[in-house]
């Protein structure tokens, strides 16, 4: 069966510090991978998605970047965090094809202080 792991679960970082959130998927190959951000009481905002190794698409301009160094690994990064980067970050995957279910990780709570 497929599983998705996302870490760390929570972190508190000072403004200006770097960020690295990691996500790995097991039990599948060539998945589409996604990073979402969820602000309190809001829906999900897609930040990045990837359809293959090294292929990253950004949906919104921001202080963050993403990388996909391996087929089932997706990393969300920042060189210098801003207060506005605080939020709940969710990694997700799905299998190629129309109308497939998207599966989410457990999320990472980021507080920038």
């Amino acid at each position: 069966s497929q599983t998705i792991h996302q870490w760390p679960a929570t972190l508190v970082q000072p403004v200006g510090s770097p960020l690295s959130l990691e996500c790995t998927v097991e039990g599948t190959s060539n998945p589409n991978l996604y990073w979402y951000r969820q602000a309190a009481g809001r829906g999900l905002q897609l930040l990045f998605y990837s359809v293959g190794i090294g292929q990253i698409s950004s949906e919104v301009p921001q202080n963050l970047s993403a990388s996909r160094p391996q087929d089932r690994q997706f990393i969300l990064s920042s060189k210098k965090l801003l207060l506005s980067d605080s939020g709940f970050y969710l990694c997700a995957w799905d299998q190629r094809g129309p109308g497939n279910t998207i599966y989410f990780g457990e999320g990472s709570w980021l507080t920038v202080v």
């Binding site: 996302q6 589409n32 897609l46 709940f88 969710l90 799905d94 190629r96 998207i102 457990e106 999320g107």
Partner: protein, 115 residues
Amino acid sequence: SQQGEEDPQALSIQEGENATMNCSYKTSINNLQWYRQNSGRGLVHLILIRSNEREKHSGRLRVTLDTSKKSSSLLITASRAADTASYFCATDPGDSGGSNYKLTFGKGTLLTVNP
């Protein structure tokens, strides 16, 4: 732009009662999906209904889709305290070339089921 909009924003019911949540959207869709999120956790897929379907069932869940009104409803029958969560609808326009990158989520309905 926000595609799916859930209504109500919050719903509080007693155990055993039915809970109905609605979702409205603005543009044409290929499918509509409902997700559940427990507080502080990831989202879990509940059910997907395609644009050519009108109703789907899964256990205690019943989803309807009215493409003429651009709306969907999620009915949870005989609710339990464990159903307490936020419920999101997500719309897929279907022209994203085999991915979900155009999947747009609403802001959710917070359902509280009191024991």
